[in-house]
Symmetry: C3
Subunit: 272 residues, 3 copies
């Protein structure tokens, strides 16, 4: 474990890796180094056999305020191709959150605005303080959403509400996102991180390779056709049935004992 990074702080609780975006001077606004550091930290956590799940949060009492407007004010002076390249940095981070084979849970205090919202919703699960808010923000400064915000929101809100959120930039309370299903757990103020770690610990003790297949199925489910999904599920089930994890899981069930998947973590797929 290293804490040499300046933007992303890294810690561990049991099988849970905790990644904290730390830029408290500006409510954890995105810095030029965030994308590369967070992607590298995710790759480290994925490679670590002791880690079963990841929590992503912001330092202090605010998740992430999005892009830094002082930087964005000068972005117009860059050629379009460079602006696009910077945006691909965000897009690559979104892809890294989704492609990481281990579940990533966002823990939100205070609020998530702009690209902060995109990062929170790109995670596999979301724990939020009850008084936190979520906002697409961009329109208020004449900009448009990025980082997959409109894609992720469309997975759980109607087009009518999506349009209102994006055209007005109004805040949506965490309770509304919970009712719509995008927030898995609502907590008291200040308790989001602990609850996210508890949820992460629960799934970290599950079957590692089955969980990776499940994450893959879940992240494509809203966009794939039924035939694509039936095929992906069948391909994975054929793998799962031959995996030592299934032997352990089914054996434990039939033997009326608790399955011990943690002992199988870090092995190659299918080894038994």
């Amino acid at each position: 474990m290293s804490t040499d990074n300046k933007t992303i702080l890294i810690s561990q609780e049991g099988a849970v890796r905790i990644l904290t975006n730390s830029n408290p001077a500006s409510r954890n606004a995105i810095t030029p180094t965030l994308y590369a550091e967070l992607s590298a930290a995710l790759a480290d956590a994925q490679a670590d056999p002791e880690t079963g799940a990841i929590v992503f949060t912001g330092a202090g009492d605010f998740f992430c305020s999005g892009g830094d407007l002082n930087l964005l004010a000068k972005r117009r002076e860059l050629p379009a191709s460079e602006r696009r390249q910077i945006l691909e940095g965000l897009n690559n981070l979104i892809r890294a959150l989704r492609d990481c084979s281990k579940p990533v849970i966002a823990a939100v205090e205070g609020g998530a605005a702009g690209a902060g919202l995109s990062m929170a919703l790109a995670c596999d699960m979301l724990v939020s303080a009850r008084d936190a808010f979520f906002t697409v923000a961009y329109v208020k400064v004449g900009l448009t959403p990025d980082g997959g915000a409109t894609a992720f929101l469309s997975e759980f809100v109607s087009r009518q509400v999506l349009t209102e959120m994006c055209l007005t930039g109004d805040r949506m309370p965490a309770e509304r996102l919970h009712a719509l299903g995008a927030v898995n757990r609502l907590t008291d103020k200040g308790a989001a991180l602990a609850e996210a770690i508890a949820l992460a610990a629960k799934v970290a003790n599950g079957p590692e390779r089955a969980s990776a297949r499940i994450k893959s199925l879940c992240r494509q489910a809203h966009r794939a056709t039924l035939e694509e999904q039936l095929d992906a599920e069948a391909v994975f089930m054929v793998e799962s049935q031959a995996d030592a994890e299934a032997a352990e899981g089914i054996g434990a069930f039939l033997g009326k004992r608790k399955a011990d998947f943690a002992a199988l973590r870090g092995r190659k797929q299918g080894a038994s």
Copy 2:
């Protein structure tokens, strides 16, 4: 009507065909004969001009507990190609439920687990006892979802909740599925079948060929593009306008009498 089948019991109430999965020794777990028997029973019901809608339920007080773990424990000894072939048996049943031209309504008591959940959600509508539960289950024994579970769930839950359900295998109460829209009717314990038959009888008296077109539109609506859906709707509307069912329906409306679509059931499309 025949009751020679061992797994699927068949009965009729008016225009409603009732198919009951019966394997009470193991809470209606899936048996090797289920897929072929249920597919054949659906084809029979579709071909019967007296039948307008179908109810699919489980014998006794539990809908279906999914795969038989004693069988699954030995599945790993089969070559991958055979395991895949067995999974296609489930996939073909899911396709049969969807491709059947007549509406299929699931009636759930107790619970629906694993592939039992997939079968319940593959139906066109769903009636459930208030105290029943739904679970993706698989992960608990080191396996991954199949039979379209992740596709069907994604039609009404967020990716965040889908991921939690699949990674934890936790039970989701019928009331939550009702709030999310996947359960059309909640009933008291023991009353799901009667309510499902009542809902089936209502739609069984509708226009048979228009209803088949509607089922086709509804089962593709969540995955098609707008242009694909506008085109499919227009193709069907052109057919519907020329159908004797529309002549009867519009004529009844303008004549201020009740439409009698049942008399037109079993005729070829478009005959008037």
Copy 3:
């Protein structure tokens, strides 16, 4: 502004263009002239630099009862190709509502039935009186949905509820659509138009070109893949960053003053 049209009445309140479908003899049922008139009125509103958003409503106390059954009764006598052509008139109107670069808000009193439902849901946002109802209707007269009804409903209801609505034609109350997210604002009876104008005025004062990009992102979000959406968002963000609207918005934010986007309306994209 002109009121020469017979079916579509046109008025203006500040930056909000109001288009009213007026055929009170039959609860604003669709007339042969509606499609062309409404499409032309949308094009006019889009071209007008004084207009920032559009409200679409029905005259009197009912939004739109859908197709005229007296006309539909004779439709079967036309060749299939002519029936299809008439349906493309409706489809082209749906496309015009979506392709209009300015936000269109539906204001619904009383109810929206059949193609009236399709038109209400094709709009970007929806304001409805609390006692209004929505119905797919068609099946009651032996017909099948058109105008994108099944596509639009699938963006916010489960397949199970979509199927029930389309197979039964039962009314769904505005409150249920609000809970599901398709209605942005519920109002008292008679107050939908005023509330829709207020919401339109709010977004009409936003950045015109950013809002057009946002509308485009929102209308494709439910159907696009994540990669398609990440790409579309990045293309638009590159444009937005260079636009005078962003200079005004970011400058106002950093200068702690209110942004004045209205002054930039009607300029060419990117001019600063």
